[in-house]
């Protein structure tokens, strides 16, 4: 231990020497930091300086030093994306080469295409069809088995690729229901609306002598079918099933007859490319309503 006579800076109470500084009689004890701590501290500073040489660090007027390693986080992301792209390139090539039947028959391909289609659906389709593809009024539910333009994998693919009434695509689905408000008398429209409402109530096709049956046969059956079964060639909905896209109730049916509304869907083939459209078709088909 220190001898207070030899060390004028020793604090007698604690036995620790002081720094020699004194403020109004208060002295500062000299308890130095542990050496390992000081060494670590300086090592960190050295590390930081070396780091700035190797990595982007020092700000300049309009940019910053790039560091001798040339590292950038953007390049990192680019290479990671490229690696991901390369990892799935085998599947992409296989899906590109296969038709819908081959994709659905191969379990691996089907699984991959469905998963990729699910992701693409969430980006491009849920705005209208809903996150569960359950649709809403005017936008078809893709889970059920009621299809306007056909529910086979190929038909689904065609509809997604070319759209519905899409002006930008020459091969798009086109059809137009005339506005019968200009053709039929209001009471004729009312009676055919009653007839159509009865069609879907589950009791079978109404009597041929029912009011509206004749008007239906003359004006509607050419597109919607003799028994209201619809025609997917021209996107004419099935009126005899229990599902309806737009309307419920006689008044709504009458309104649709007077001045029909038509759904529109963009053509996705040109936007998303062949592979993604096939993946979307595989996903929609996997929802369970496909034929």
């Amino acid at each position: 231990m220190h001898d207070p006579h030899k060390d004028p800076h020793l604090d007698e109470l604690s036995g620790v020497s002081t720094t020699g500084h004194e403020w109004d009689g208060i002295k500062e004890l000299n308890n130095p930091l542990p050496r390992w701590w000081v060494v670590s501290f300086y090592a960190c500073i050295v590390w930081a300086l070396v780091y700035t040489v190797f990595y982007p660090a020092w700000p300049l007027l309009t940019s910053a030093t790039t560091g001798v390693l040339g590292y950038s986080s953007r390049a990192d992301v680019r290479s990671e994306l490229a690696a991901a792209e390369a990892a799935r390139s085998g599947y992409v090539a296989a899906i590109k080469a296969a038709d819908m039947q081959q994709i659905l028959a191969d379990e691996t391909l089907r699984t991959v295409a469905t998963a990729a289609g699910s992701a693409a659906f969430k980006v491009n389709c849920i705005q209208c069809h809903g996150s569960g593809a359950q649709g809403s009024k005017g936008f078809p539910n893709l889970n059920d088995d009621d299809w306007l333009w056909g529910g086979t994998p190929e038909q689904i693919l065609t509809t997604i690729a070319h759209g519905v009434r899409a002006p930008e695509d020459a091969d798009t689905h086109v059809s137009e229901m005339p506005a019968f408000g200009d053709i039929l008398k209001p009471e004729e429209i009312a009676s055919v609306a009653t007839f159509v409402a009865d069609l879907s109530n589950g009791t079978g096709f109404p009597e041929e002598t029912a009011p509206g049956a004749q008007i239906f046969a003359q004006n509607c059956a050419s597109c919607h079918g003799d028994r209201g079964e619809g025609n997917q060639e021209m996107g004419a909905p099935n009126l005899a099933d229990s599902l309806s896209l737009l309307v419920d109730g006689e008044e709504a049916i009458a309104a649709q007859i007077r001045a029909p509304k038509h759904g529109v869907m963009p053509a996705w083939g040109g936007r998303l490319g062949d592979v993604t459209v096939k993946e979307l078709a595989a996903y929609v088909y996997s929802l369970g309503g496909g034929k």
Binding site: G15, E107, N141, N143, D144, S242
Partner: protein
């Protein structure tokens, strides 16, 4: 005659004794533990061989699992989320076994500490084992205590440089081997060994080796006793774990005091003389640098080397062994009371000896009763209970499991003929390393029909689903019920999954949802 005995008096001093408590910021005093020899030292060699053997060799054991799973006996397969331990395979959802083992380890540590004291610290703690190993190297290269102290005081010469470099290089090699062995628990050991040496291994393997090399070298070689004294929480927890019936390494001052360096002369002069000749052998061998004669202290890891050292001296002196011994506080207090006549007198070793110089029969020694106490029995019972529970859970656990996720968006789908369809994701877990074919059907939903994507129903309505070994298979299942039957908002039914070749069957109760009310 005693002075003539060849008792080396060692110039050893405890680093932070009660009498000379150093300030918190005092620089470290180096410790040069002397080699001990005796029963406890031999026992520690054995423990070291066993623990290091387990650590280094276990990843190399093979275990045939029939070709569908890795053949490494102990493997933590993080990439595939499987843990293999000989005949046991654990999936992530069965991780509670590991939690159970940790609970057992905790209770075991309580049990061990409350009976035999800090045996974990003294014998099996990796810090203790590796420091021991590093000291072996140090002694082999630089010599024993006195040679090392001398070398340390020397200024750097070519000889000192060579010795020091050799020591640190060997320490680093041991450290690298320690880190290197660790990674083999996480991948196929033979493959990984080749990969590591050819530079093909993952970066995480190299960084793990680097980290463990650094910690082993720093903790085992450089910091040593400071890890136990300053970093480890366990010495602090001891205070709550030890009681007066736990064994601790104890200096029995009731027979050792008053200590004397010249016992015979002092005795001849009529002074009271104890057994301790103050040779400092116990301090010199202590890897923690303490003086056990100061009493039980936080730094003592109960490695028992001071017992060996003291027993050796007692043998030479022709005294009974056990001046330093494993003793409970109860026994110590009783013997102390005897030596001090109930605390009324200073210690007189004569009180614990018979007139002919033998230790008195009334002295208390280690007895079975100190082990069998309500506390230790409770620990043992809890420990066994958890163990039995784990074994029972392991023996009766399912190797076929099923999870059913009901589609929520949409919850149900109306079809064009009026029927209602619900979608489910069925997950079948084949938890053995063999491919199996599962028969899937549903029960309890009238007039329903089932469709599984990519799978045709058999004549009786079941689906045969092959599931790969050790894998989960996910199936999309559609269940449809006619509208007039599905008149309730919620119906319950069961998925039944049967192993077609074995006895295992699993059912899962699911719900079928509909708009409710008939249209």
């Amino acid at each position: 005659m005693l002075e003539k005995m060849d008792i080396e008096r060692l110039d050893a001093e405890a680093v932070n004794s009660q009498k000379q408590r150093q300030v918190l910021y005092a620089p470290r005093k180096k410790i040069f533990p002397k080699r001990a020899s005796g029963g406890f030292r031999r026992f520690k060699w054995l423990i070291m061989a066993i623990t290091l053997g387990i650590y280094y060799l276990v990843p190399w054991l093979r275990w045939d699992r029939g070709g569908y799973a890795p053949d490494q006996a102990v493997l933590i397969d993080i990439a595939n989320r499987r843990f293999y331990f000989f005949f046991i395979e654990i999936w992530p959802q069965e991780f509670f076994y590991v939690a159970g083992l940790l609970v057992m380890a905790g209770l075991g540590l309580f049990l061990l500490t409350s009976t035999v004291g800090r045996a974990w610290c003294g014998y099996t703690c990796p810090q203790t084992v590796w420091v021991d190993l590093f000291l072996v190297v140090e002694r082999a290269i630089e010599g024993d205590r006195n040679a090392r102290i001398k070398l340390d005081k020397e200024s750097y010469s070519p000889r000192k440089l060579v010795l020091r470099t050799t020591k640190h290089v060997i320490w680093l090699l041991i450290a690298v081997a320690t880190g290197g062995a660790w990674i083999f628990y996480f991948a196929d050991a033979p493959t990984l060994l080749v990969d590591v040496f050819t530079g093909q291994a993952e970066i995480v393997a190299y960084s793990t080796i680097a980290c463990l090399t650094a910690t082993t070298y720093i903790f085992g070689g450089l910091m040593r006793e400071q890890v136990c004294t300053y970093m480890c929480p366990w010495p602090r927890i001891q205070a709550a774990m030890l009681d007066e019936a736990s064994l601790t390494v104890t200096y029995n001052d009731w027979r050792g005091e008053p200590r004397s360096r010249h016992a015979k002369k002092s005795a001849a002069q009529g002074a009271v003389v104890g057994d301790c000749v103050d040779c400092n052998a116990c301090v010199a061998v202590c890897p923690m640098g303490i003086d056990i004669r100061d009493g039980q202290q936080l730094e003592c890891i109960t490695c028992a080397l001071c017992i060996d050292a003291c027993d050796g001296v007692m043998d030479k002196l022709g005294r009974e062994r056990g001046l330093i011994s494993y003793t409970t506080l109860n026994d110590y207090n009783a013997n102390m009371a005897l030596a001090t006549a109930g605390g009324t007198q200073p210690i007189d070793p004569a009180r614990v000896r018979t007139p002919d110089g033998k230790l008195a029969a009334t002295l208390r020694h280690i007895s079975l009763a100190s082990f069998l106490r309500p506390r230790t029995l409770l620990y043992a019972a809890l420990w066994s209970l958890v163990g039995i529970g784990l074994v029972y859970a392991l023996v009766t656990r399912d190797r076929l499991d099923v999870n059913v996720l009901h589609d929520r968006n949409p919850q149900f789908v109306m079809l064009s003929d009026g029927s209602v369809r619900n979608g489910y994701t069925l997950k079948i877990l084949n938890m053995i390393a063999k491919p199996r074919v599962m028969a899937v059907r549903i029960e309890g939903l009238p007039q329903s029909s089932v469709a599984i994507a990519g799978n045709e129903a058999q004549g009786d309505g079941t689906f045969l689903v092959p599931v790969e070994p050790d894998r989960l298979r996910s199936l999309k299942v559609f269940v449809t019920q006619p509208r007039h039957v599905a008149d309730k908002q919620v119906q319950t039914f069961r998925f039944v999954i049967e192993d077609t070749e074995g006895p295992e069957t699993k059912t899962y109760t699911a719900t079928f949802q509909a708009p409710g009310g008939s249209k």
